[in-house]
């Protein structure tokens, strides 16, 4: 009798296991499934893969002597040069000089560009007077003004900051002006039905509405500022990153040139990231495809 019971138990247990197994295979598949017509599964560290590959080829080429050290120093030589430059303080002092130039140029450029855009965007008289000259200025590449600006300001800091400022004004002005003029007519109607005053309308509707455009302008402006920085520092400079690079060229110090380029890259990435963070913070009300 007991054996019989045991047998049934086994049998019951066995069938239970079996049914659980089948249930398991029928359970809802919770793995994230790749889209059938998509690009396929995501690759880990995809954003850095290409960079790592380039670095690997560079290192391998330097190790095997395939890449001439005078053409392109090895990555580790660049690293040790950077350390040397930091130890004797040259990198920091040149970097500080350059950073101050960009910061001043950006500050003046953003201020002037925004002010001009607001005046021109919010009044017909303002536009009549400001927009024409700005469009002409836009047609002249800022860097082409350098000879004239040297005659006016000399080769010192005022000339350099002015060049950067001029290159920043344009994208800030254009985008902000565009944003101010592009306010949705529906919101203007709304403001009218809510009996908002002119000041309120500008503060609550026009300016916040133009903010996305302004921030786009800011992104362009940062790029323009860095481009101008590179150029003005290679013209008659006695300090700054560009000067450091120019000097290294004279002495054939490839690794110092490369350190300078790496620092430029870092500044570029960092400032773009910063603007991106500002954008996200200021535009947290948006839920766009990019978010």
């Amino acid at each position: 009798m007991s054996a019989y019971y045991v047998d049934t138990k086994h049998a019951v247990g066995g069938s239970r296991r079996q049914s659980r197994a089948t249930a398991g295979s029928r359970a809802i598949d919770q793995r994230p499934r790749a889209r059938r017509l998509g690009l396929g599964r995501e690759i880990p560290y995809a954003a850095h893969l290409g960079t790592i590959l380039v670095l690997a080829i560079w290192s391998l080429g330097s190790l095997t002597g395939f890449i001439d050290q005078r053409t392109l120093s090895a990555p580790w030589t660049v690293a040790t040069t950077a350390v040397d430059l930091i130890i004797d303080g040259r990198l920091q002092s040149n970097l500080t000089t350059s950073a101050i130039r960009v910061a001043l140029g950006l500050a003046f450029g953003i201020g002037i560009g925004t002010a001009l855009a607001v005046v021109s965007g919010l009044s017909r008289w303002g536009e009549a007077i400001i927009d024409g000259p700005i469009q002409i200025k836009r047609a002249i590449p800022t860097l082409a003004l350098i000879p004239l600006l040297i005659l006016w300001f000399g080769i010192g800091e005022p000339m350099k900051v002015t060049v950067i400022t001029l290159s920043v004004i344009i994208p800030i002005y254009l985008q902000t002006h565009n944003g101010l003029r592009g306010i949705d007519n529906r919101y203007v109607e709304l403001a009218e039905t809510l009996r908002m005053g002119h000041g309120e309308f500008i503060r609550h509707v026009v300016l916040p509405g133009a903010l996305p455009a302004f921030l786009l302008g800011l992104r362009y402006a940062v790029t323009a500022a860095l481009l101008s920085l590179v150029v003005v520092e290679q013209v008659n400079a006695t300090s700054g990153l560009g000067y450091m690079i120019e000097l290294a060229r004279t002495y054939g110090q490839t690794s110092t040139i490369l350190v300078g380029l790496v620092v430029y890259a870092l500044i570029g990435l960092l400032s773009d990231g910063l603007v991106h963070i500002i954008q996200k913070r200021a535009l947290s009300w948006r839920r766009t495809l990019a978010d």
Binding site: E189, E192, G209
Partner: protein
């Protein structure tokens, strides 16, 4: 303004021989209309019949439109558009109290939001709300201004059928509590009959029918009078139904 003696109360809206046109085409061709205090008027009409033009004239939104006629509407009026028209960069409460200067604005805004069933969503961004919720914020924004005249331009046209029914209930309750005069522009005959005290039909810029609806609440298709008014209105709108 000439004194009006129709009804017991002063009319909130008085329109006499209103003519409006765009580019030489007459859109409103001699409109005469009065809306009494607290009266709910629905304006029915096909697309292009001029209903939005009439509403925009009452809302003072028809600048640069050529026209003649007398138009008297209260200062305290507010508009609910077909889209909720919330400023996306302002939180819900800020949208409700937009343009209000008094010190109790926030408090009243919260109360209005609670009244439309959105208490607790004051700090949400408009994009975080559903279409129906956004339209409720728009209603709160209108209510908080305590309007003598509420102008609504197909306010539920973009909502799904179920949400629309719920919004009808809400609007009915709000209007009973605050008693503004209402002009609701719609092309939904059922909506007009179930909400309004009076239904006007606008055709080619003229009011061609003016029907008082005195059905008891709640109004529904079950009532045979509802069905007969509906058939009547549909016929006036040029729709023939075969059942």
């Amino acid at each position: 303004m000439a004194p009006y003696a129709r009804g017991l109360t002063e009319p909130t809206v008085a329109v006499e021989n209103l003519v409006r046109g765009f580019n030489g085409r007459t859109v409103l061709d001699g409109i005469n209309l009065t809306i009494r205090e607290g009266e709910f008027v629905a304006l029915l009409g096909r697309s292009g019949s001029g209903k939005s033009t009439l509403l925009r004239a009452l809302a003072d939104l028809d600048h640069d439109v050529a026209g003649t006629g007398l138009l008297q509407a209260p200062e305290k009026k507010s508009v609910v558009f077909q889209d909720a028209r919330l400023l996306p960069w302002k939180r819900v409460l800020e949208n409700v109290v937009l343009g209000l200067a008094d010190s109790q604005a926030d408090e009243r805004g919260r109360a209005a939001l609670a009244e439309v069933g959105l208490a607790g969503r004051e700090q949400a961004w408009p994009v975080e709300l559903s279409g129906g919720e956004q339209q409720r914020v728009a209603l709160a924004r209108s209510l908080v201004r305590d309007p003598a005249l509420l102008l609504a331009d197909e306010p539920f046209g973009a909502l799904d059928a179920l949400t629309r029914l719920r919004m009808h209930d809400l609007l009915r309750q709000l209007c009973q509590r605050h008693r503004p005069a209402v002009m609701l522009v719609t092309h939904d005959v059922d909506e007009a009959i179930s909400l309004a005290d009076r239904v006007l039909v606008l055709e080619d810029g003229r009011i061609t029918a003016d029907i008082a609806i005195d059905l008891p609440e709640p109004r529904g298709h079950g009532d045979p009078r509802f069905a007969s008014i509906r058939a009547d209105l549909l016929q006036k709108l040029g729709v023939t139904i075969n059942h």
